[in-house]
Symmetry: C2
Subunit: 541 residues, 2 copies
Amino acid sequence: MSETKVKHADEIFKSFKMQSVSEFFKKNAAMLGYTGKLRSLTTLVHEGVTNSLDACEEARLFPDISVYISEIGPEHYRVIMEDNASGIPLDYIPHVFGKMLAGSKAHRNIQSRGQQGIGVSGAVMYSQVTTGKPTEVVTSTGDKIINKVNIKIDVEKNAGEIISRETLKNPDKWRGTRINLEAKNLQYNRSKYGPYSYLKMTAIANPHTRILFVEPDGTKILFDRNVRVIPKNPKEMKPHPHGTSADDILSMIKNSSATRVRTFLVSEFTRVSTKKVEEIEQISGLDLDINPKKVDWEYAEKLVNAIKQITFMAPPTEGLIPIGADSVKLGLEGILAPEFVHTVTRSPQTYHGGIAFIVEAGIAYGGGAGNNGLDIIRYANRTPLIFDQGGCCITEAAKSIDWKRYGVKDDNAPLTIFVNLVSTHIPYTSAGKQAIATEEEIYNEIRFALMEAGRSLSRYLSGKRRAHEKLTKKKTLLRYVVETSNALGSLIKAEDNSKIIKALTDIVEKKYDFEETNGSEEKANQILEENGAEEVSENGE
Amino acid sequence: MSETKVKHADEIFKSFKMQSVSEFFKKNAAMLGYTGKLRSLTTLVHEGVTNSLDACEEARLFPDISVYISEIGPEHYRVIMEDNASGIPLDYIPHVFGKMLAGSKAHRNIQSRGQQGIGVSGAVMYSQVTTGKPTEVVTSTGDKIINKVNIKIDVEKNAGEIISRETLKNPDKWRGTRINLEAKNLQYNRSKYGPYSYLKMTAIANPHTRILFVEPDGTKILFDRNVRVIPKNPKEMKPHPHGTSADDILSMIKNSSATRVRTFLVSEFTRVSTKKVEEIEQISGLDLDINPKKVDWEYAEKLVNAIKQITFMAPPTEGLIPIGADSVKLGLEGILAPEFVHTVTRSPQTYHGGIAFIVEAGIAYGGGAGNNGLDIIRYANRTPLIFDQGGCCITEAAKSIDWKRYGVKDDNAPLTIFVNLVSTHIPYTSAGKQAIATEEEIYNEIRFALMEAGRSLSRYLSGKRRAHEKLTKKKTLLRYVVETSNALGSLIKAEDNSKIIKALTDIVEKKYDFEETNGSEEKANQILEENGAEEVSENGE
């Protein structure tokens, strides 16, 4: 190849273009989870249900969700999802369903399932791209009217387009949202990657929710509410100073009305008192009375370096709502009926950017646990993660643990690991939100949580092993009680050996005390019976 | 919780906002690969190098790339990357380095490493977010001037911002681009996840490329060009009709100037001849003389259904440039020095949307292969994929194969799998482009390629096993040659048994002929020696 053929940059850059975020995700639908027929269907359900759950919690309501899936042709399904949340004002409908990166969550430091403003627009797009049809949205905020709208995405503009609109009367003050879409290249089944499993897993982690699910064959399943207390409402949280970067500080200053850095720090961060500000002042040597708008990178970096040297209280817990160790335990017992369960809810931590998080973990052993060796159940903010297990921080942390140290024999041991990551911002590896990036702090916390549960498992297993050894020894000794007693009896020429039997049994039982025994007396009788001895009265007569 | 506390939708939607794609990826940097100190550094290098390789190929040049990494503070590095490609016209600099989803590749059906227009802007953003500094870009299209520009991203606007600009004279007509950035929260080492390994893997799959790499400690490494032929230039490809969806057809019509559907089909697709159009007409019953602008969803869907029933030639190969089975073999031999290698380049296929792809695969066995059991080397369009292995279609396909059927004993067998996916559009699972989504057609092709290589491995291993068995039998028999000869000798009263020994050895050698033997005579002598016999001359005297 000679240099004479070299293309000039001007020629190359003629084809330079911009694309909208919708075009990007249309072309890269796999990044949103639209890959494979079953996964695509589960993704549609996932997007609708997480939006509904978030909306209900935000409106402070017990979620009441219905999901109907029906088959309308080969690999062609209709999905209807309805909730009882706050409804969507007409003006926002095109943005919610037709504009990616639009939403009420991305810019707030609050725990929620959705955080991107992509998901449900992605569902509308998938429907449109496979069937050419709009999505029907019926919604009311509980006032006089219900809006019934057909919406499409203008992919090039990344904008929602209302194709048709109808206004219905709302005499019953119905409030909520119902979306009705159809899509192709789908498949329904009850495997662990399907909508049924997804909804079941959702119900387990959201016991305050009622989900009615109608399968394509008409089967109705009710995942009923079994907690009458709605979880605490997640609160918008101020960032924790630890881990906050210079860039974060400069971004926060843009949106702050504070007139001095001193007050900026106290008002915009959690756990920063005026006393702590004095410490920051002393360590950094900075003038904290300047106007925040004058803060440059160098100043912000000095601030961050000083903050790193100071101990602050852990972030407050009220912003993060775990499922709770008891609920996790109930959930695991419900699905797996294991022999042993231990659940842990760790105290809050932060990862970079001062983002608070909590890890809850559980270990189930025996029974239905770990059907195929190590089984990992993953959640993020109470939303089940069922795809992309291999590339997830939870999987990596769980696999990094040497389970043998906790008494687990081998890879085929019946072990199920449960982890729920709770955070105001989950660092997903992809817009499809099925795997968590391996952030060091999160990885470590998951490990600590699993090790804590592991120690409890270890005690259980070694107790079980000791108990088993004790029982074996005791059984062996008890086997010789009658013979020994008879021998002793004839040595001392006793008329009735039953007293000796009782005494010996007593000794053995005491030495190998085991909680399952019903007392040495009963045992002695049992032994005598088993050895064909006649019933003996307590005094041996 | 009572209904009286229910928040009204109007209150909730007050906080509804749009965010730019840059804001989105700043908040979700893990999706771009910025997670973990080592991975973040490798990602920076990856983004620069893939852009340079694509730019060189597009300009039809042998790539000459330099990468300098230096440590300028704790976890703080400078990365300089330079190429000899076409350079970037001044007007495009802000878009290339500061605007995400802008590029020359996303909308063209052409094989390239980058395809999103996100990567290098992501690098500029990561640098800016961790250090507050702009990225320096020095570039010339080979004309009179060199532009030296400092650029930042305005994250809210998703736009590049030129902070300062200098114009230098270019007497030597230098042409190329050099970017110079610094970033923090990084770590350098030579592990398989670091820049060294990344560049080595890149060099293996791009033997027409010269890469000079300077490590932080000053070590210079030259991955030299070892092929004097530049790979064929990937060509922009028309989509293949198979797998094209109704939505694809409607999108394509928007950009087509054809006035009849008939001509639209012939001109916009590959492998559609006028004869094939007649078939489509017959099967669909559609009027193909209408103006494409009148095509609606229903019409497009009928078209697609008809197309599905027709056999078309496989997509042309010239648009897809594999590494080539021989180069892959050389590469694997170079890194692993295995005992056995087999490589396969499959014929092109399409996956949904009529997107053409080729799978190349290789298996290396023994030697340095599979150090830790099954090892998987993954590439997409000759770019190494080194992260997110667990969630990748290649890994899933490789693990789905029952290697025992191919003579591989167990999980600890020394096996390295190589797969390169070549396509005009790689369905990545995330914008970080480290894992491929499990598209059914791709998954199957990878399996077929590996099975083909597996059959060859199986032949090799069973040959080896047979040879081993032969050798064992032969050794056993040869062990008795002297004894049997002596017995025979005394039976026939021979004076010298060496002739009998020679004759018997001959028989055994012939029966268990094995290429490694040096002839029966030498063997006979060897046996005689080993058994303490005296040297015998050829005629036995």
